[in-house]
């Protein structure tokens, strides 16, 4: 796409394919020799990890679907039957449940990485927007998947979240209520709701897979950003994707799997809520309805805003604002590493998101509500005020002349004088 093809079909069957549907050429150009900046650190390995996690979720999910019963009476028991009587069912179900958490952990790191290194800036706006779209689809899919367990938290989370649409009654009386009943397929959350959530939960991962392909396409046109944010200037700045990044991504993936397996085998319910092992009961509301950990920051925003309709707008806006980041950030340079002021606000933003997550898990009163509001203001202030203003007033640090220079030092272009790399290399990689 962005680089001339270097593929030469060497066998008869390759030539046959190349003249008809050049998949071998695409694989060769896009995944083997694809020119990739040589200085990508370990934060860049989460794209591969995410692709792997999507595959894990789809494979475990399809087998689970073969045993799951999407009815109000059968759902909870069928999940337990999977855990008890299906061969390796406990492994499939826990891998799927813990896998969802790991998927979100990876996607949040991936998103923060893009935010830190300015990977959304021209010419990667579409790449970024497709990524935010994937995040939205993931949120919808995970929410629906959680509902399928049909425990108390599942049921009441569906009740709370679907009821948010009733806030539209504030705009046109009756609109929200009608919409909610249409979504429910009745006058309360029940069997029809579960059945449609199940259908959509099976559908959306394939939509995600489709957008992931577009996301990778949009990545392969401008190529990867890199930790300096400096564009690739010469062939020396890049290395072929294979073997350098296949092996690096592979190593990071195995480390990630150790964390995944640790949770899966030794604490599979650590990230879940005990109430979801109580079968759904429409007559009994749990004392504290909380979503899964990966939704807590947005839940905190929802509850921080006193007006229901504006709360919902805040909830949606929390993700929605990301779509506009390429134009909200007015900085001339990409990488936060070279932005001395913005850097502080960025890390404060990360802390702010973690704080919102904690506050989302607590009952919204007293100081919890107060700090929930402070953090919500900072969340939006960061995007809507700080990002545009800092780009104008900040003086960035001096950028390296090229990617190669950033790796090998200013003498990088005169390699004869280059110092031995044994000393440099671990430091650079360790920085990730």
């Amino acid at each position: 796409m962005s680089h001339p093809s270097t593929y030469t079909p060497s066998t008869g069957i390759e030539r046959w394919f190349d003249a008809r549907m050049p998949i071998p050429r695409m694989m060769h150009d896009q995944f083997l020799v694809f020119p990739t900046p040589r200085n990508l650190n370990y934060w860049w390995t989460f794209g591969g990890i995410l692709t792997f996690m999507l595959a894990v979720q789809m494979v475990t999910g399809i087998v689970l679907a073969m045993h799951y019963v999407p009815t109000a009476d059968g759902a909870f028991d069928s999940v337990e039957k999977i855990m008890r009587d299906v061969n390796w069912g406990w492994l499939l179900r826990y891998a799927h449940a813990v896998g969802a958490s790991m998927f979100f952990l990876a996607v949040y790191i991936h998103t923060f990485r893009g935010l830190y290194y300015g990977s959304y800036k021209a010419p990667r706006e579409i790449l970024w927007i497709l990524g935010v779209l994937i995040l939205l689809l993931m949120i919808a899919t995970a929410f629906m998947g959680y509902s399928l367990v049909w425990g108390q938290m599942s049921f009441w989370a569906v009740t709370v979240i679907t009821n948010l649409f009733s806030s539209l009654d504030a705009l046109i009386p009756g609109l929200g209520t009608s919409l909610v009943e249409w979504i429910w397929g009745g006058f309360s959350v029940g069997g029809p709701t579960l059945n449609r959530l199940y259908a959509l939960h099976y559908l959306l991962p394939f939509v995600i897979a489709g957008v992931v392909i577009l996301h990778i396409w949009a990545l392969h046109v401008p190529g990867n950003n890199n930790p300096t944010g400096v564009d690739v200037k010469s062939a020396k700045d890049t290395i072929p994707f294979h073997p350098y990044y296949t092996i690096k991504d592979g190593f990071a993936l195995v480390l990630f799997l150790i964390l995944f397996a640790g949770l899966l085998f030794y604490a599979p319910n650590f990230l879940g809520h005990p109430d979801n092992y109580i079968p759904a009961n429409p007559l009994q509301t749990p004392p504290h309805i909380v979503p899964e950990w990966y939704f807590l920051p947005f839940y905190a925003i929802l509850r921080a805003i006193p007006n229901k309709l504006f709360g919902v707008i805040g909830l949606i806006g929390g993700i929605g604002v990301l779509f506009f980041v390429p134009w909200l950030d007015t900085s001339r340079i990409r990488s936060t590493s070279y932005r001395p002021i913005y850097k502080w606000f960025f890390w404060l933003f990360v802390v702010n998101c973690l704080a919102l997550g904690y506050l989302g898990s607590q009952a919204p009163d007293g100081w919890y509500l107060f700090f929930g509001r402070v953090c919500t203001i900072y969340y939006f202030g960061f995007f809507l005020v700080l990002m545009p203003i800092l780009g104008f007033i900040e003086r960035p640090k001096k950028l390296p002349g090229s990617i190669t220079q950033s790796v090998l030092g200013p003498q990088g272009s005169h390699p004869a004088e280059a110092p031995p790399h044994v000393a440099q290399e671990p430091a650079r990689e360790g920085a990730a």
């Binding site: 040589r38 028991d77 337990e80 855990m83 008890r84 406990w90 492994l91 826990y94 290395i239 073997p243 350098y244 092996i247 690096k248 592979g250 190593f251 195995v254 480390l255 799997l257 150790i258 397996a261 640790g262 899966l264 085998f265 030794y266 604490a267 599979p268 319910n269 005990p274 109430d275 092992y277 109580i278 079968p279 004392p287 504290h288 898990s361 607590q362 009952a363 009163d365 007293g366 100081w367 919890y368 509500l369 107060f370 509001r373 402070v374 090998l408 990088g412 390699p415 004869a416 280059a418 031995p420 790399h421 044994v422 290399e425």
Partner: protein
């Protein structure tokens, strides 16, 4: 200027700074503190103590099962690996002690027969309403996954069963409720189920409330997580594989990237 100050003041007020908020409610989603116990099945290498599960089953059957159902378990489960390990003969006897409704038969009638290993544990009540009528309006919850359905799991169950006490002097008790240190709100409808010596133990374990509570908590952990031992065993193999694999990947990665570093070192423009 004044209007700006007023706007700022309104903004701060809109945050609704809590006035007395330092006095934090202890009950902000957290129940009483539950003390962690030492369990034989603690990760990563734990195993269920078969003798303890068998004793726990006895406590469950003699005491808990009078009011609590356990509808996800079958008698056959009692003999499966990673569980109490009853012999097939023992399971047949245990199952046959229950009368199970089956049918309809050729005449179209339901009939009672002795239980088989493939039958689910028999529930003490025909339905929830029947359970409430007998229990002063309270519904004894199903115990199948109880050890996963409460914060603290088996620690909580143990704390609850040993947590019955006299209410503090100023504590107002509702009619028909019991005071319990571990129960959220401290008022529980279930009367204290365990008394020292109520079930004789045959394996030399002291028949005390503490042991009953510990054994039945372990048993409930097994009913909630019957594949726990298998999970730990598979987990250990997977972890060893992944750690070795990570080492191989690390050195492969270094070897591959060393080519690049050599090229940089010897590269002649």
């Amino acid at each position: 200027m004044m209007s700006a100050v007023r706007t700022a003041a309104a903004f701060v007020l809109a945050l609704s700074i809590p006035s007395l908020a330092l006095a934090e409610e202890p009950g902000n989603g957290h129940g009483p503190v539950i003390k962690a116990q030492d369990w034989s099945f603690a990760p990563p290498f734990g195993r269920f103590d078969k003798a303890q599960l068998q004793r726990g089953y006895r406590v469950y059957k003699e005491i808990c099962a009078n009011c609590h159902s356990m509808r996800l378990l079958s008698y056959r489960n009692l003999g499966e690996s990673g569980g109490p390990g009853f012999s097939p003969k023992a399971i047949e006897i245990l199952a046959a002690q229950a009368q199970v409704t089956d049918g309809p038969n050729d005449k179209g009638e339901m009939f009672e027969r002795p239980g088989r290993p493939s039958d689910h544990f028999r529930s003490p009540y025909a339905n929830d309403q029947a359970a409430r009528v007998v229990n002063n309006g309270a519904l004894p919850p199903d115990l199948s996954v109880m050890a996963k359905a409460r914060p603290g799991g088996p620690d909580y169950i143990y704390a609850l069963l040993t947590g019955y006490a006299k209410p503090p002097a100023e504590f107002h008790m509702t009619q028909g409720m019991q005071y319990n240190k571990a129960f959220p709100g401290h008022q529980i409808a279930m009367p204290n189920p365990l008394v020292d010596g109520v079930i004789p133990y045959t394996d030399g374990t002291k028949p005390t409330v503490d042991n009953y509570a510990r054994d039945v908590s372990a048993f409930l952990m097994w009913t909630a997580e019957p594949k726990l031992e298998e999970r730990y065993k598979v987990g250990a193999r997977i972890m060893i594989f992944l750690i070795v694999f990570a080492g191989i990947m690390y050195f492969s990665k270094r070897a591959v990237w060393a080519r690049l570093h050599r090229r940089d070192g010897t590269h002649q423009a």
